[in-house]
Structures are given as C-alpha cells and as structure tokens.
C-alpha cells in the first residue's frame, strides 16, 4: 500500500501527488443543486459534467442532475456561444427548470467565453432565470467553485426593496445536507426566521417515494434568493466557502454579515447559538442547553481515551478547522492539519487554534497533498486520521485508525444524512473518534488485558 511514499523530505514544485482538493466546477454544481428547481449546467466538454455528477452521486448516493454544453473541437475553436444557446433552449424545453445555473470549465475559461454576453443574448422564457459563474479549474479548488456559485446567485438575483423582512440569511458553506438540517433546526429552536442558501437538504438526501423527482422538494427558491436583499443579517459559515457570498450580498443590498466558523465542536456551536440569540433576542431554550451539557458530559467521560492522542486531519479548509478545534476541545493534539485548497488564512487560523490550546509541534498547511501528509506521518506517527475516503490508503499503509468526515466520502454510506455541526454533530464525531480509538485498543490488547468494561 503506497509503497513508494518515503519519509525523506523532498521539495516538489511541479508534481502533485494524491491531491486533497479537486476542481472548481464540482463545487459550483453542488451549490446549484441547493436551489429549488435549478438545473446546474456545465459549460465545456461533456466529460467534466459526467465526472462531477459521478462524484457527487458517489458521495451522496442520490441523483445529481446537471446538463452540459457538450463542446466538441469546433466549439473549442469558435467559442461555445451557440452551444449554450442550444443548451438553454433544450433544457427549458425538456426539463423545465425554474432556473439554469451555468458554471464554466477550464476549457471555456481558456478560450475566454463571455458567459455574461451569451446569456444576454438568450431568449429566456417568461418567469425563468439563467445565471452564471466563472469557475476556472486552474485556480482555487472545489470550495472556490462553491463559493463563486453562491456569490453569483446573489449578484444576479438578490435585490433590496427597501423593506426589511426580519429574516437572517444562513450560508452553510460546503457541508452535507445533514449539517444543513441541523443548522436550520438550531435556528428554529432559537426563534430565528431564516433563508438558507444554498440548501441541499431535501435534494441530495431526498426520501424514497417510488417516484423520481427531477427537482425534489428541497432547495432555496428563486423567490427566496431574490428576497435575500431584504434580510437583516447574514450568518456566513466558513471564510472559504461563504465569505464571498456574504460580501456580495452586503455590497449589492447592504445586508451586513457575521462571518462565523462552521460550528463544529462546543465553542463554535456556542458562537452560533449566541449569534442566533443576538438576532432573535430570545432565551436559549433548555433543550439546547441540555444538548450542550450532554456533549460536555460525554467529553469528560471519554477523556481517558482521547486525551493527548495525536491526530491528522485533512479535507476542506472550513471543515478541517472545525474538526481541529473540536479535537483540541477533546484534549487531542491535531498534529497535522492539511487542506488542498490554497489560502494562507487556513494556516493562520489553524495556528491560532494551536496557540489558543497551547499545543506545540503541530503543522498546518494549505495547498498541500496527501503524499506530503503521508510523509509527515511516516516521519512522526499519529493515533488517528480524520478525513475523506482518500485517506484510507494511508490509514492502511501505516495501520492507523481512520474515521471519515468531510468530502468526499465515496466508500461509505449514510454519512451525508448525519451532521457534524452543532452539539448533536459533536456527539456523533466524538462517538466516531472514541470508538475508533477504543476498537484499536481492543484489537491490540493482549488476551489477558482484553477488558469487558472500558
């Protein structure tokens, strides 16, 4: 398993080995799926769309519908304008969405297709919409693409009528439908009326009904996106995935925003609850306090198994930072923290957490890859790996327990229904972490040390 990975340091500047990120368009596609009756459209050759649908489907085990401009060589030379025009006609005609959300690929970006001009030129049926975002694959990562699509929905659609509607905007970031449901549950519990954008709950965790729905019940409606301009405040989760959207809404419609970390773990969830409370000016209900207390109780109970355990965390920046803070709250040491998405803000945020909890010798890196993470692990070992499916090879090669959290998880089921955010998400994450470590302790125990009670 990964036999060629050596621990010796080697400075690579050109070769990416086992990436911890993928390209922008898949993020844009995911964001667009979180809008009700929206057809995500990939403007480029059809392979991109196929790959992205394949990947989202494998993660969510639910249909991920999207269309493509199906470029061939001609379009690559002469531009994709006529392809988009034909595509728009066919999409409205056959699939009848309320809105088409176009994102570019590295192909249409490189030839310089002017999507804005193309869309101006298209006959969009009455009451229907078409928006676009630029998602060059050679910049940023899938998180950047997600963030760009959210911002584009707002800049195309949201308007301020001058009448505030008393609502908060929740921008959940690149998280699972299960997380979105939990964020909404907490908002409701605190008496906050909200619109979430995007909202893939109900779309990518839709129920089995015996009838396929191209546009399931979930997703932010176009009307809701338009009305975002009348909101009081945006709560944007995660600098990388949500700040651009919140900033766009502020610039366009003057809606102020509060940039929060994705609420994974106790203090981050506390921060969310406080923000909700500040918005609705209601008491925190006992139910929520009870949940929080349960999570704290759990962490105290399990501390002998988690304290000072060293862990490597990789994945998307906002999620990784959340998990990092939570494992620090559990007394663990986030020895290696890595994201494939570039951006110095990740490193400074991670280092601030190391300082806050007084841990030494931890490494944080943005724009890294799993080959490098593996090298670090070989250099100085750890007790647990947390990340997406692609970590399983390292876990096996080094015989380290592995729990799956984040994106993508393509070798397990059910994860997308279960939150990592909120106190409930914390309980789940704590359970997965503790069980993985305790399973390992059982496995490694001598027969005479094999305990019934732990």
């Amino acid at each position: 398993m990964l036999d060629y990975t050596k621990k010796e340091k080697y400075d690579r500047t050109a070769l990416r080995v086992n990436p911890a990120k993928t390209c922008q368009p898949v993020g844009a596609m995911y964001a667009a799926l979180g809008v009700h009756e929206c057809m995500p459209h990939s403007h480029g050759s059809q392979g991109c769309c196929a790959f992205h649908r394949m990947f989202l489907t494998r993660h969510f085990k639910d249909p991920a519908m999207a269309s493509t401009s199906s470029f061939t060589e001609g379009a690559s030379v002469f531009g994709g304008g006529s392809n988009l025009k034909t595509a728009a006609k066919n999409i409205f005609d056959i699939y009848n969405p309320k809105i088409i959300a176009v994102h570019t690929t590295c192909l249409s970006e490189t030839i310089g297709d002017d999507l804005n001009a193309f869309i101006q030129d298209i006959d969009i049926p009455e009451g229907k919409y078409m928006v676009h975002t630029n998602t060059p694959s050679y910049k940023g990562s899938h998180i950047t693409g997600f963030s760009n699509m959210v911002a584009s929905f707002i800049s195309y659609l949201s308007v301020s009528s001058g009448n505030k509607n008393g609502k908060a905007v929740l921008m959940p970031g690149f998280v699972n439908p299960g997380d979105m449901r939990e964020l909404k549950r907490l908002a409701t519990a605190l008496g906050v009326s909200y619109t979430m954008l995007p909202d893939t709950s109900g779309v990518l965790d839709s129920p089995m009904t015996g009838k396929f729905e191209m546009y399931p019940k979930g997703g932010t409606t176009v009307e809701e996106i338009i009305a975002l301009g009348n909101s009081e405040l945006t709560l944007a989760f995660g600098k990388f995935a949500s700040e651009a959207g919140a900033e766009t809404l502020k610039k366009k419609c003057g809606v102020p925003y509060n940039l929060l970390p994705i609420p994974i773990g106790i203090s981050r969830t506390d921060e969310y609850i406080i923000a909700l409370q500040a918005f609705s000016k209601t008491e925190v209900p006992y139910d929520i306090e009870e949940e929080r207390g349960q999570l704290v109780d759990i962490l105290i109970d399990i501390h002998p198994y988690t304290y000072n355990k060293k862990v490597a965390i990789f994945g998307d920046p906002d999620t990784v930072l959340g998990i990092t803070e939570f494992v620090l709250e559990m007394g663990m040491i986030p020895k290696y923290v890595l994201t494939g998405t570039p951006g110095d803000a990740f490193v400074s945020a991670a280092e601030a957490l190391f300082t806050k909890f007084g841990v030494d010798g931890c490494i944080a890196k943005a724009g890294g890859d799993l080959y490098e993470l593996h090298q670090w692990i070989k250099e100085d070992g750890i007790d647990l790996i947390i990340g997406g499916t692609h970590g399983k090879h390292i876990a096996r090669a080094e015989d380290i327990p592995f729990i799956r959290a984040g994106f993508p998880i393509i070798d397990r089921y059910i994860h997308s229904y279960m939150p990592l955010v909120g106190y409930k998400g914390g309980m789940r994450l704590a359970e997965m972490i503790t069980n993985a470590l305790m399973d390992r302790q059982d496995r490694d125990a001598l027969e005479e040390d094999f305990e019934m009670v732990m």
């Binding site: 990416r16 990436p19 480029g44 066919n90 056959i94």
Partner: protein, 529 residues
Amino acid sequence: MSVLENVLDQYSSRVYKNRKEHMVDVNNNENNNQIAANVRTIPGIITQRGCCYAGCKGVVLGPIKDALQIVHGPIGCSYYAWGTRRHKGKTEEGVDNYLQYSFSTDMQEPDIVFGGEKKLKKAIAEAVDLFHPSTIFICSTCPVGLIGDDIHAVAKAAEKEYGIKCIAYSCEGYKGVSQSAGHHIANNQIMRYVIGEGDREIKSKFAVNILGEYNIGGDGWETERILKRIGYEVVSTFTGDSSIEDLKNAHKANLSLVQCHRSINYIAEMIEERYGIPWMKVNFIGVQGTIETLRNIAKYFNDEELTAKTEVVIADEIGLIADDMAYYKSKLKGKTAAIYVGGSRAHHYQFLLHDLGVSTILAGYEFGHRDEYEGREVLPFIKPDADSKNIESITVEPDKEKYHLYLPEEEINKLKEEKLIDYYGGMIKDMANGTYMVDDLNHFETEEFLKRLKPDIFFSGIKDKFVAQKSGILSRQLHSYDYSGPYSGFRGAVNFARDVTMGIYTPAWSFVKAPWKNTPVLEGTLGGE
C-alpha cells in the same frame, strides 16, 4: 403510438429528428434496424457520456500498473480518474504498481497564460527522482490542447534525459464525441511505442492475448483462470492488471481474444496487420457465452487434446455452479431488464441474463459505434464525419521479422468466412423482436422508457442508478458492478445471479409506500355523534 413515438413525441422537432435516428424497435422499424451512433450529443441534453480523456486515461491506460501516469492539466481530471474506475491490479515482485497514486501537474493560472511545458518537465523530473519509474505516460486535458503545450516533444526529451520510456497522449476532453475517441488515441500510442518490443520466451503454442478486458471486479483474473486450466498461455491482457512488460510481448501470441470490441478493436486489427495474429470476438460473460467462446477458441487452435480438455473443463466448471445457477434462475425467471452501459457490456450481459431466465427488453451503448449494434458488415457504409476525422487513425505494415501465422493462410481465410475470427456480429442479432435498442440513452429517455416498459431491473452506471431506484426499480451498476464481482466466466455468473437476486428480494422495497398512504387511519365522528 408506439413506445418510441411516445418518447420522441415530447421533443422539439430538431431534437426529435436527431434522436429518432438513435432508436430502433428491433425488426419493426422502417430503417431496417439501422441506428445512428458515435455522433455528437446535443447541448443541454443530459447525456451519461464522458469525454476523450476519460476513455484514454480512465479506461485504457489507467489499468497499466507499472506506468506512472502524469495528467497534465488542472487538478480535477487527475482527481476523478484516481482509483474510481475499479480496474484491479495485483502488486507483483519486480513490477511497479502505481495504481494507488494520482499524479498531476495541477496547472495554475500562470501555467495557462505562459504555457505549461516547463511545469510538465519539472513534474517529470520530480516523478523520476521520487519514484524511479521505467515508464511515464503523459495525458493532456482540455486547456493543454488549447494553449498548445507540445507534450510529445517533452516526452521525447524525457526519454533521452532519463533513459526511460515516456509516451504522450493528446487526449483532450473535447476531442471526438465520447470516451470512444480516447480509446482510439490510447490504442494508437500503445501500438506505436509498446507492442513488439518484448523478447520474452513464450512456452506454449496456445498463446493468447486478452484484449478489451479491464479487470473490473477481477473479471480478467477469472477469465485467465479458466483459460489456464484448459492449457492456454496468456501473454498479455489489455489492459486489466496489465504491465508494460507484458504488453511489449503481445506480438508473440497466436490469437487475440477481444472482449470489449469498441475500446480495443484498433489494436486487434493492427496486431493482425503487423504480426499476423488474427483476433476473435469473445464473450466471457454468461455461462453459455463462456462455453461458446471456449469452444470457438479451441476450434481455432484445432488441437485434439486441447479440444478434449476444453470439454472436460467446461463440464467440470458447470458441475460446480449448476445448483447455484438453478436456484437463482428459479428466483429470477420471467423478470425483465433494461441495460444501458459501455460499448460491449450491454450486449454481453444479455447472455448472462438469458442464462437466468431474464429477458432484456431495452439495451443501448453509451459510446458504441454502429458496428457494435449492427455488426462489422456495416463498416464500409459508415461515413466518416468531422468528429471522427479529427481522431488520428494509423496504418501499420507487416513486420518482416516478427510476422508469424499460426494457421496456414487458406485455413485463416476459411475461418474468416465462417466469421469465427476477425468478425463481430453486433448486438442486434441477439435481440428479440419487439425489444428496443437506443444509442446514447439520455436521462429524459431513461425516465420515459422506465415508466413505459417497467423493467424489473435497470443495469446502468452511477449517474442514472439512483434515478431508477428512486422510481422503485432496482438498479445495478455494470461499470463498477456496485463493488462486487467478478461477473465473468462460471464463478462470475453465480456472483452476478446472487447480486441481482438480493437486489430484487430486498425487503426494503416493500416499505416504499407508507401504510397510511394506502389505508385511511384517521377516525372521526360524523355530526358529533
């Protein structure tokens, strides 16, 4: 209105005209079962097709385990082809295995603006330093073709500088109309730079290559097991669990067995031209299919002992699975299936389903050409269009030293006339009257056909799997076998039968409708009584 008309009728006239050509009501259509295939998809139509890069890197090259494959482009393309196509490969002593790795130049904006060759060269240098591979492949992605990086020149320079084999593939995604273009591009380069270079000693005259076998779920291993039992020597497999070291020796075999016709017939033909080795279309999917294939191969080699051993092995293998197959047949008999997958599988799996008493009522290929549907007799009538002309087609000459014939020419010609070798009859000849054949079946048509034909099972890929399941129809992936397998040969048939049976009989199907949807549970009183 017929089923086809019903589906088509919902399209605008332009789409109608285009898609009509891709549909055949077998033996009932005015067009004498002619079908349009290997032509562009329509922008905006939700096709399940992939791209040229997917066919080249993802399908044909991906399984070659000892070639370190650098994808030159932005990160995504390399990422999506990393361990996702499920071609299994064993790590062997003395043979490199890079299957668990993904290598990319991860091009950034400056590389697009100023050119990416420098970065590619550096990436090769780093790969050589870190991995010491004997072979490096370079695959290009969309923007590389546009900005004009000369990956072939970079490859040549690298060969010289590092004394390794370095082959470049210009398989930009926008080329051609589907994965098919990429298969062709991969085939050309393997023929040019790999086959014929080896000098391994071949021990048996019953030496074969297995072509178009990608070892999904271990299919290739099961096929090899049966062939070896009979006494064949497998010289190379293209390209499941394959290595450059094996492929180099492919010219030493005496027969090429072609499993997936679409992805590899180019190599099969070129091997015959250059080295005199005929090819035979085989099918190791299905019990009867496997038996027929084994007998055909024995017929070609025309050796009494081999023929006798073939029958012994067949009888023994059937004996071992007979009870299982009879049980599963009793559970599945009378069910109906629709298949939409690949460029051969939609044909092959009909044999296996037939073994189990399941009839196929709709079948189609994702990237097949007309010959996969109508048979190779249609080849002279296929007019090349702009898209196919854009894909390089190479011709080869007989190799004076290495050309060899196993059978005398007149016997070869006789077998050709009998259509035993160098022939593929296509799918339609095995489909019953009144069934449907649809090329490039798109999402809309899938939904409509499922509604109208109500098959019990829909075999497809991941993108349409859950569409079928959400509408209450079992779907199994035939690209990845839903992480089961092998499905080939005798043992594979049992695996397949087991998987389909558990899918059909899974109790959860009975819970799809909530009970309160069928029976009223609210009790009330009328008029306050």
